[in-house]
């Protein structure tokens, strides 16, 4: 009881502090950001006290803390601090909501403040409108789902439901906000997130999409399990992983490619959510849950760091940007992109490993043709990881590695980067062992106990890798003896030219090899198009043509046709009422 009262007061204080940050923005941007950072820290503390949704709270709090700190150091505009803290407040209300109405209030607040921030930043409203339009599509679907839930329970409070229809509606509403196929399609999220300031981009990409994941997870906890939705989510998620990573690889817009990468990560998270819904085996469910939580941590923090990297770069095109590199930025970006590429011993590596293990174990445990779904998803995720590694390598190379050395900066990026291997170790705390299911990465016997092949499937130990790899490197270094180093110009076949190979050129092989998918147009420069966006536009144009033809033929102010419509509508209503 004492703890509950404390938690209640903490919640109130956290909210009031964020409201104070919002009010302070009218007076001083820096003061507003500092107070937002304090509120974020309080929210992390609140998260640590929480139960089932602890990971969502703590991770969101960390994302806000890093973004607010970055803004306090670099952003001076009062309008920006207003919209920034407003967006954080909206997400906070969403996460803390106790009923559907509070949830929607937070959701709309978040959408409107973010819309204003995107629009005001460039004085160009198209990205903002795009964001708002998709945001409202999401809201409409959420309202539909919440009304269905209200119809069943008779209350707006989050109560357990017996029908799965609210889950279907709200899930697709949330996926719109996450920028997931087939609603985005791959276009709106990069337009919106790519046109915000770095700290807001990180909040939109890491925390706002996380609110969508939280929403789906929350509704799943209220509704009965539905395998059909699980299968659909796995396939949509894996498809998004593959295409998000592919478009990230060929995109030459610095923040756009990160936003496409967000779609890829959200796809992976959706796949984990689908796995959670597909399996009835408690061991496997625990493992899928572990996979989901680690992915949430890995994506949110790494993406925050990478968007903050863009704050140190001048220009938007990867091929023409200018910047200088520093030790902190180079190492920080390398660690962050290693995690985003799903490599051990970072938290991203644990996430990818656990997701793939989940999918492949499910393909054994789910019998029949349904078992093919996680299998195909696993292969798509594998291909997506290949593209993701390429995209991240291109990002690090052209924002840091090939740039001339400059003054020391980007310590915040280094701090978040160092968190990647540290969090890989802390993933023990989330391990299925805690759920009474399996053990992850102990010093000995790190196998995953499962119902297959005598009780074991596989296992990894991030701790082992983190300890042994540096020791082996040190032994190698010492054994290979002293090295004599002489600085020279790169060889380049004796041309004596500086690096002229561009980021755009680096991705051109894929543009050409996958021209059927990317609809690459050959010309002076190779460019690729978003096939999904084109397909949607064609559908819209087709519908408009059909609508015009229909209206001219049958809705041409003819009173007899209107009479027929009214009679038909009457018959349909009667049928619906009686059936």
């Amino acid at each position: 009881m004492y703890l509950q009262i404390d938690k209640f007061y903490l919640e109130i204080v956290t909210l009031l502090t964020m409201i104070t940050a919002l009010a302070l923005s009218l007076w001083s941007a820096r003061a507003s950001h500092v107070v937002a950072a304090i509120s974020s820290s309080l929210f992390i503390l609140y998260g640590l006290y929480s139960g089932e949704f602890r990971v969502f709270y703590v991770v969101s709090g960390l994302v806000w803390l890093f973004s607010s700190t970055f803004s306090a150091l670099h952003d001076r505009e009062r309008w920006y601090s207003l919209t920034f803290s407003g967006t954080l407040l909206g997400i906070m209300i969403t996460l803390l909501s106790q009923n559907y109405l509070e949830f929607l209030t937070g959701w709309e607040l978040m959408t409107l403040f973010a819309y204003a921030s995107i629009g005001v930043y460039r004085r160009e409203w198209r990205p903002g409108y795009t964001f708002l339009a998709f945001g409202e599509v999401s809201t409409v679907l959420l309202i539909a789902g919440f009304i269905l839930a209200y119809q069943e329970t008779g209350t707006f409070l989050f109560h357990t439901l017996t029908d799965t229809l609210p889950l279907w509606f709200t899930t697709f509403g949330f996926t719109v906000k996450m920028g997931i196929f087939p609603f985005l399609v791959v276009e709106w999220l990069p337009i919106a997130h790519g046109n915000a300031k770095p700290s807001l981009s990180s909040v939109l990409s890491a925390s706002m999409t996380l609110a969508g994941v939280y929403g789906i997870y929350k509704m799943m906890s209220l509704c009965p399990q539905t395998q059909a939705l699980g299968g659909v989510l796995i396939l949509i998620g894996a498809f998004s992983v593959l295409f998000g990573a592919l478009y990230s690889y060929v995109s030459d817009h610095m923040k756009g490619m990160l936003a496409f990468s967000t779609i890829e990560n959200n796809g992976a998270i959706l796949t984990a959510l689908g796995s959670l819904e597909l399996s009835a085996d408690p061991v496997l469910k625990a493992f899928a849950q572990f996979s989901l939580m680690v992915y949430v941590v890995a994506h949110s923090l790494a993406k925050t760091g990478l968007f903050l990297v863009t704050g140190y770069v001048h220009g938007e095109s990867m091929s023409t940007l200018s910047t200088e590199r520093s030790f902190s930025l180079e190492i920080g970006t390398t660690l962050l992109t290693a995690s985003m590429s799903g490599l051990l011993p970072t938290v991203g590596g644990v996430a990818v490993w656990s997701l793939l293990e989940t999918l492949f174990m499910e393909s054994i445990s789910v019998r029949g043709i349904l078992g093919l779904i996680p299998l195909l998803a696993g292969v798509m995720v594998g291909m997506g990881e290949g593209f993701a590694t390429g995209a991240m390598a291109r990002f690090t190379s052209f924002t840091s590695l090939v740039r001339p050395r400059g003054g020391e900066r980007g310590r915040l990026v280094l701090l978040i980067g160092v968190l990647m291997p540290v969090l890989a170790l802390l993933s023990y705390l989330l391990s299925p062992e805690m759920a009474g299911a399996a053990s992850l990465g102990m010093f000995s016997n790190s196998l995953i106990p499962s119902g297959y092949s005598g009780g074991s499937f596989g296992g990894i130990s991030p701790l082992y890798v983190l300890i042994i790899l540096p020791i082996l490197s040190l032994i190698t270094y010492l054994a290979s003896g002293r090295r004599r180093v002489r600085t020279v110009d790169p060889w380049d076949n004796g041309s004596g030219r500086r690096l002229t190979y561009t980021s755009f050129g680096m991705a051109n092989n894929i543009r050409l090899m996958l021209r059927f998918v990317l609809r690459t147009r050959k010309g002076a420069v190779e460019t690729s198009a978003d096939v999904f966006w084109r397909a949607i536009l064609q559908l819209v144009r087709g519908y408009v043509r059909f609508s015009r033809a229909f209206s001219r033929a049958y809705m041409n102010s003819s009173i007899s046709w209107y009479m027929i419509y009214m009679i038909l509508a009457f018959i349909v209503v009667i049928l619906v009422v009686f059936l």
Partner: protein
């Protein structure tokens, strides 16, 4: 931890370290003989490594920490992998529980990732061209590696390489169609991952380089470690192919068995080298973009293996 396990571990890791360049030397020598040339000595890789270890390191003007220290990390990653998969000794040794098949694949990817980053830090046009090529095919390579490992995992019901190896030793399991298609897919992947596709050319000609271009700016100890690392990588993947896919029989246990296993592995490698020799010398040169088709076939084969297994499970 018993002395037996320690001695078995030392035998396995030293076997990988010391013998991996030999197989590259034998293959190059036999290839030269088939082409009517005298060819280099089978010990040439060792001579090259010793020579490189004595040379100074040339550091491109823009390069720094990652370029200088990356090779130590890459080498250590391959060394770490040699503890965790049955590449000489058929039973788990020290550190074996570090990763399973999938984790091993992620460690291979980590080494590839560092190689790309250290190469890019040199800011050389030719290196960037090579990185671009390497990354272009990584999506298919990575997916195939994961799919092949999972294919055997689905067949055997475990992702533990040692359990898998024991499982496929039964002839019924060995001749199981999904295992056969996974074997072919993994061999194709091994050819690609070790730069043995008839597309690639090593040396100074940049037209056909993929993997070699990543070390283009390296010299001295850095180049030695990367070359040695490549030999180890080739040995590790080749030995997994031999022990888990193609020839899972014949390895002995115990400290003495571990030493005899080095000889058994030599015989197995001769089989692999002869098959590769036939493939390498009988296929015409590829065009660069045909690599994608080659890998796509490997991926489809491994996918067929997966689908057959899942459908077989009912």
């Amino acid at each position: 931890m018993s002395w037996d396990v320690i001695s078995e571990t030392i035998t396995q890791v030293l076997g990988v370290l010391l013998l991996s360049p030999l197989y590259a030397g034998i293959l190059d020598r036999l290839k030269a003989v088939v082409e009517g040339r005298r060819g280099p000595s089978v010990l040439q890789p060792y001579y090259d490594l010793v020579k490189l270890s004595r040379k100074e390191t040339l550091l491109p003007r823009n390069a720094g920490n990652i370029f200088l220290n990356g090779p130590y990390l890459v080498f250590s990653i391959y060394l770490l992998i040699s503890f965790v998969i049955p590449v000489v000794y058929p039973r788990p040794v020290i550190f074996t529980p570090t990763v399973d098949f999938l984790g091993g694949a992620l460690l291979f990817s980590l080494a590839g990732f560092i190689k790309v980053y250290e190469a890019m830090e040199s800011s050389s046009n030719l290196v960037t061209l090579g990185v671009s090529r390497a990354l272009s095919f990584s999506y298919l390579g990575e997916a195939t590696l994961l799919t092949v490992f999972i294919a055997v995992a689905l067949i055997t019901g475990t992702n533990n390489p040692y359990v898998t190896m024991q499982y496929v030793q039964s002839l019924g399991h060995y001749l199981f169609l999904p295992h056969v298609s996974a074997t072919v897919a993994f061999y194709m992947l091994w050819l690609f991952e070790t730069g043995r596709l008839p597309l690639e050319s090593s040396g100074m000609s940049e037209m056909g380089m993929i993997d070699d271009s990543l070390v283009y700016e390296y010299s001295g100890k850095g180049l030695m470690l990367l070359r040695w690392g490549s030999y180890i990588k080739s040995y590790l993947l080749g030995s997994v192919f031999l022990n888990v896919f193609l020839l899972p029989w014949g390895l002995l246990t115990g400290p003495l068995g571990a030493i005899l296993d080095l000889g058994v592995m030599f015989l197995k490698w001769m089989v692999l080298i002869l098959v590769t020799l036939v493939v390498e010398t009988s296929l015409a040169k590829f065009r660069l973009f045909k690599v994608q088709d080659f890998l796509a076939v490997a991926l489809v084969l491994s996918l067929i293996s997966l689908i057959l297994t899942v459908i077989g499970n009912g």
